[in-house]
Point group: D2
Chain length 264, copies 4
């Protein structure tokens, strides 16, 4: 819908599905999946290597006209993340960065203290920072306050496929946010992505849910529809939940339909 653009970092996008490249079985499959997803932003890890796809991922993205969003995956401290972001800015000529500072390799959960520090330094340095964070409303607000252009709370741990473990927290975040909220990490299937949008997220970010699906192509298409479905449903205003049944139409007294005048 032309009148429902995603505004982020001062630019506008038609698609609300942001993708990653990790886990793709081949460059060809990745390219097909990216096309099927309709994505306009794809994040690439500056510190990780995808064997067999290194380097040429950028070529694919350029050919498809997809914006490259460098990320700092694999950084465990504020210092590493700031350095990685600066190298990315030089290499890719973009001041956008998806900031990731994780606490350890096992959980890949964000380290809030390091994250806030890195965000402050990068914002001061002129970056447009999209911050990957946990689902804590307080941390999300602080990231917004230090100047991030988007906050990216997780649904569940990276790659877990557990979906949105705490919808309540995601709603607390979207209710209060003054910048776009992008649900990032943990989504496993289409209904997860739709739910994220229904909770008020502005966009969804995912990688392995598509790249490691049995058919990345079909799942990419599924996710495109799911994000659109969730966004539309959010805008549509859903019916309330009721404890008991509610007939869709009032009951007519007696059976009075006739061939000439059926009663609907």
């Amino acid at each position: 819908m032309a009148d429902d653009m995603l505004m982020i970092g001062g630019e506008s996008f038609t698609s609300r599905l942001i993708t990653g490249t990790g886990g793709a079985p081949s460059l060809e499959v990745l390219e097909q999946a990216l096309i099927a997803s309709g994505t306009e932003i794809t994040t690439v890890a500056m510190r990780r290597v995808d064997p067999g796809t290194a380097g040429s991922v950028l070529d694919v993205l350029r050919r498809l006209g997809i914006r490259v969003l460098p990320n700092t995956a694999g950084c465990f401290t504020s210092g590493e993340a700031v350095l990685t972001a600066r190298l990315a800015r030089e290499a890719l000529e973009t001041d956008w960065v998806k900031l990731e500072v994780v606490a350890d390799e096992r959980t890949l959960l964000p380290d809030g203290v390091e994250l806030v520090d890195a965000a402050e330094r990068l914002v001061d340095d002129g970056f447009r920072v999209l911050a990957y964070t946990n689902d804590d409303p307080v941390l999300a607000r602080r990231l917004e306050q230090v100047g991030c252009v988007a906050v990216m709370p997780l649904g569940s741990p990276i790659g877990s496929g557990l979906g949105i473990r705490n919808p309540h927290n995601i709603r607390l975040i979207t209710e209060q946010a003054g910048v776009p909220v992008v649900l990032d990490a943990g989504l496993g299937t289409a209904s997860d992505a739709a739910l994220a949008m229904e909770l008020g997220c502005d966009a969804v970010m995912l990688a392995t849910a598509v790249t490691r699906a049995q058919s990345p192509l079909l799942m990419a298409e599924a996710m495109r529809h799911a994000v659109e479905a969730g966004r539309l449903a959010h805008r549509a205003g859903r019916i309330p939940m009721r404890h008991h049944a509610y007939a869709s139409s009032p009951m007519a007294g007696m059976l009075d339909a006739s061939p000439e005048h059926p009663a609907f």
Copy 2:
């Protein structure tokens, strides 16, 4: 997708979203919503009256080329349902019927004993019966055994918007079913519909989730995308759930990206 048609009652359909008409604020809104939903089958109640829309609902459906599926909503006994189905067949010249036999007006839950009896009689009488049922796998199997062309388990009580209360049962039903399974009743928003399809349902049926939404038009469009999303995700084969994180790509040892050779 031309290669992924819904086969039901010996006929094939492109859309997997079946709609009802109850609750629409006006015929105009209903017509717009039906178009936006992409539906090819719409059910109409033979025993209920939608004030202001009586009669002309049929005109709308004919104009849109949508198949009319008469239902027996409002019937509390097998006898009433059979009579209603026969009147519908005469009035609408179709041997398709969505069979509803509910236990009471408050819960609108199916009465299993009456339902099986009515299904047997209608099948014997040459009807193609799509049976609205609860989420009991045993009752669903029995309805298939007596010859129903589709079983339509509920997600939650009609009009409740509670979504799918028992996904486990729905999966037990779809795992065993030899006829199409249509998730019917209780859906409230897009992610509910996507989940239904991911659980293996062949189609989704809904009415008030669309007609009573704040914007029926937007919600109809949302549901169209949601059903497609869920179907594609089901076919795509989702990633497994993991208790812990799983990095989307193997970790590179040290930071080695350079402006010339970024490492992705």
Copy 3:
């Protein structure tokens, strides 16, 4: 609590935990677990054999003063169940029976049609019937109407340990029931049993959750506390759920606590 007895079949009990014997590793372990559970009613299968425990289970129950409740596990038709109940009545000199009529060996789910038929016949024959059923409120009501002294809806399939899959349905059942509701089947751990009672069930029935636990003795004790906890919580009237936080006490303006007059 002496003033909160379970009334069932015209008799009263202090304990609200009904147990089964299947799955116990030995008679000794079973006996210890039964004692720890505080149970006053234990059901035994007339058609199943517990290798190594046959026969002497009855001795244990008699020694412990626990009422024996014969059940018709393993019956697939109304006829089998009625015959089994009659044999049990002769063998055990009790007109109590836990009626089970399941649809197949794989799901062990009740067959509603056969179940109602058997219940009617047994009630006519003077039995006090406690009917194992699914979580369908309509079927539960019909079983009450034909004269069962208790309805026993499942939480999830027998032995699955999935807990209560559909709390909404259990609540619909307890809201309407005029006879005791006993949550039967599927419970896996203590919080499941507490939840059952909080939903308004009058008692809980379980077997494998205790007998197949790593320590049947500890789990039996856990379940005894859990049932009591859930019952007390149900009677106590819980606080409502709120979307936002709610301070446990009003905020004092400024810090004014002093060593002499701390402000609590």
Copy 4:
């Protein structure tokens, strides 16, 4: 159980239920509820006033022999919390403190950055710090690393009664923790408390679930049983979850029970 003591801050306790006093309708009701709960530790707010109960709460706790755990509720910065803790130490002659630093009055959610800072300062100052935190495993670990003697993750916002919104995170915390984990905040009813213990928590802390229940006395008793139930279940080792049914005992071939030799 004498062999299953709670060890915390170098001391041991029989009860695993820690209570708060806020919200009690009267001192008399509070005293009865404390007795019924079996609690051995009760936290009191140094910066909040409970009208009508100020001051004398301490008398009640002393009379009942319950350890007083001062808390810093109402503090929004590290500095406020440190000051409050020091005043509490002087006033109450204890170096134990439940550290709360919340971000705002509406959510009452912990502010991770301020919290870690305050914890470090208080540990350096010789306090035994029990830190109220969100359910982020990384923050919990950091609090342990700076020397807290216990971490107290929330189930959901204070007073919300929403129970444990993210059991997955709580389990991640208990799996890794080297100090006691006390589930704090959000619990609404007995099954919530049992679940907390089953997830591996060492204790449960609650206030309004009891004090604002319709009957604080009954709910206090319920919670005592629930904590015991959950702890025992955790130690017992629950059965695994299965997708399908699992008969509690192997099926005997044919009906062979006789009055003399019933087959169990």
